[in-house]
């Protein structure tokens, strides 16, 4: 039982960090550029497909991952320049509609190039097995995911709070005219930030690839979950996204694993089998509703705005 609990906690942590990574790109673009990017899930999908293709071409996992992220970064630049740039001053609903159109187009492009059937690809060889962790085994690849996301998260925090470009991004969010009067190219800065969000989405998509199948529309479910994370965490807050991501990841994973067991204690197993998973799926939405009703700005709202 203890082993099961530890395994599930690790799974929850890994899922939560994954949600965090997808949500950060979204929350940066929403919080700093005030743009609602529903196509974030499509960029996640692009990252997964690009990486899967490079792996299939015989590239190693890590070079393929880098290639996938860079390719999606480029796609992000193109989308920003062609569409998104012209919509910053518009209503949020216009953002939603336009990026919804992008989702449809991307899903179809993927279907045309790679076909409607999903792809799968293997984790890197040295991480393909399970490792022994103090008496129980756990897949090495999932540990790798936890480690890599922690690294990227720390790097992102450093980039936004400790570097010159991060300072420009934060200043540009609140006072774009002043920042551009000081000689910073705000347009280029926004393009970079949007593409950075795309790269983060692609990185998560590529990492999740070996765990789930890579298929058209894989971005949508994740998008909704990432939106829930940024709302619970507070819009624009990286720290909030981290806390909310881990909280919701643990709630969801542990709920799925243990709620059916708990319900079967006082109801017949058939009911528990039906009610348990549904209740577990409701957990993240229930949490969001409670947070919004009692703390509408989110758990750890971004400060300084």
């Amino acid at each position: 039982m203890t082993t099961l609990i530890i395994t599930q906690v690790l799974n929850g942590l890994q899922f939560g960090l994954m949600l965090f990574l997808i949500a950060t790109g979204l929350t940066l673009i929403l919080g700093i550029m005030d743009f609602v990017n529903l196509a974030h899930g499509s960029l996640y999908m692009m990252g997964a497909y690009a990486t899967a293709t490079l792996v299939a071409k015989g590239m190693g996992f890590f070079p393929a991952l880098l290639g996938g992220v860079l390719a999606t970064f480029a796609v992000g630049v193109v989308i920003e320049v062609v569409v998104v740039r012209k919509l910053y001053r518009r209503d949020h609903l216009d953002h939603v509609l336009a990026t919804f159109g992008i989702i449809l187009a991307f899903n179809e492009v993927v279907r045309i190039i790679w076909g409607p059937v999903g792809l799968t690809f293997d984790p890197p060889e040295q991480f393909a097995d399970s490792v022994d962790l103090l008496g129980f085994t756990y897949p090495a690849y999932r540990l790798l995911v936890i480690g890599m996301i922690s690294l990227v998260g720390a790097g992102l925090w450093w980039l936004v709070t400790r570097t010159r470009i991060g300072m420009q991004i934060r200043a540009g969010a609140t006072h774009p005219e002043i920042v551009s009067a000081l000689g910073v190219n705000i347009r280029a800065l926004k393009t970079t930030l949007f593409a950075l969000g795309a790269a983060l989405a692609a990185f998560s998509g590529a990492l999740i690839g070996p765990l789930r199948s890579v298929q058209p529309g894989m971005g949508e479910e994740v998008l909704i979950q990432a939106l829930v994370v940024i709302i619970v965490g507070g819009i624009g807050a990286i720290r909030g996204a981290l806390v909310a991501g881990i909280l919701l990841g643990l709630l969801d994973t542990l709920g799925r694993a243990f709620l059916p067991l708990m319900i079967s204690r006082f109801a017949n197993p058939e009911v528990a089998q039906a009610v348990g998973p549904a209740l577990a799926s409701m957990m993240i939405y229930l949490t969001m509703a409670l947070v919004l009703v009692f703390k509408p700005a989110g758990l750890l709202p971004a400060t300084g705005k």
């Binding site: 929403l30 509609l97 336009a98 919804f100 449809l104 187009a105 899903n107 179809e108 969001m288 009703v293």
Partner: protein, 307 residues
């Protein structure tokens, strides 16, 4: 215009021997009802509900669940839909309306998703397989299983709701809510109880959507939890915004466009979603007030050319 639609559309459809066009027209009418109800929130109040699929589902399940207990009286179905959706909205509304903007979008989504998972877990009502309707709603002598009858009822209801919604927008309450969309504090300082008005509009919008849901169940002869899931709610928003949320007729234009494309485009090309997606992006970038706005903008331009 209503009468001509009621007579003309079916006549044309039978002329071309295409009964599926009646189904399409009925679909358009029913989803227009739901979209106009949703537009009371989006257009008038500036509140985007991403959870109206739930009310559609409540209306649909009211029909199918009553059918399994042997009640086939349509008035009972619609009353049940109205009462249940009204109670649900009266409970959810005050909670959701504590927020606005993106938070409101997400709270309404949360409730709809919870209802979706609730219906999936209830095996008695079909679980995730949904339920097939045992029969159709009987409105007195009129059987809503009859394609033509269902079409006429839907169009009449659509006309009634369009007229009511137009009247509402021109009423004091309509003006008050639109003023509050610009600035809530200023509107409230004029002595308007915006919060109460919004709660009422939320309930009315939910109830009307549920009635559309009851019609929808009769059209599809099938009810599924997916009515409450986010893609359905998203489609309703899409219909409103694409058509143009500034006008009562915008959602109808949106529904005609969206559902016609969805119904005819797959026959033209397997990959119709690609040009369709690009078209949506293009519409957003060029037409500021939705499709209806773009259509109306064509008119004065034409006049100028004649002069």
């Amino acid at each position: 215009m209503i009468l001509s639609t009621c007579v003309l559309v079916p006549t044309v459809c039978f002329w071309f021997d295409a009964p599926h066009l009646v189904t399409l027209a009925t679909r358009i009418a029913i989803l227009s009802i739901a979209a106009i109800s949703l537009n009371l929130l989006i257009g008038t109040c500036g509140l985007v509900s991403f959870g109206h699929g739930m009310y559609l589902a409540i209306g649909a399940y009211s029909v199918s669940i009553l059918q399994t207990t042997g009640v086939d009286n349509g008035f009972a179905h619609f009353s049940a839909a109205t009462v249940v959706a009204g109670i649900a909205a009266a409970l959810i509304g005050p909670l959701a309306l504590r927020t606005s903007g993106i938070a409101f979008i997400m709270v309404t989504l949360a409730f709809a998703q919870m209802f979706f998972y609730l219906m999936i877990s209830l095996r008695v009502f079909g679980g995730d397989d949904g339920m097939s309707l045992a029969g159709h709603s009987l409105l007195g002598p009129l059987d809503l299983g009859n394609r033509l009858g269902l079409f006429e009822v839907s169009v009449l209801l659509l006309a009634a709701i369009t007229a009511l919604s137009q009247l509402f927008n021109r009423s004091t309450a309509g003006y008050a809510l639109r003023a509050a969309r610009q600035n809530v504090r200023r509107a409230e300082s004029l002595g308007l109880d915006i919060h109460r008005l919004r709660r009422i509009v939320y309930v009315v919008s939910a109830v009307l959507t549920a009635d559309a849901g009851s019609l929808f169940a009769n059209l599809n002869s099938y009810v599924s939890p997916s009515y409450s899931a986010w893609p359905m709610s998203g489609d309703l928003i899409l219909i409103v915004v694409l058509g143009g949320m500034g006008s009562v007729f915008g959602p109808i234009v949106g529904a005609i466009f969206l559902l016609s494309v969805e119904s005819f485009a797959p026959g033209l090309s397997e990959h119709w979603m690609l040009p369709y997606g690009i078209a949506i992006v293009w519409i957003v970038m060029t037409a500021r007030h939705g499709l209806l706005g773009a259509l109306l903008a064509l008119r004065p331009a034409g006049k100028e050319r004649r002069q």
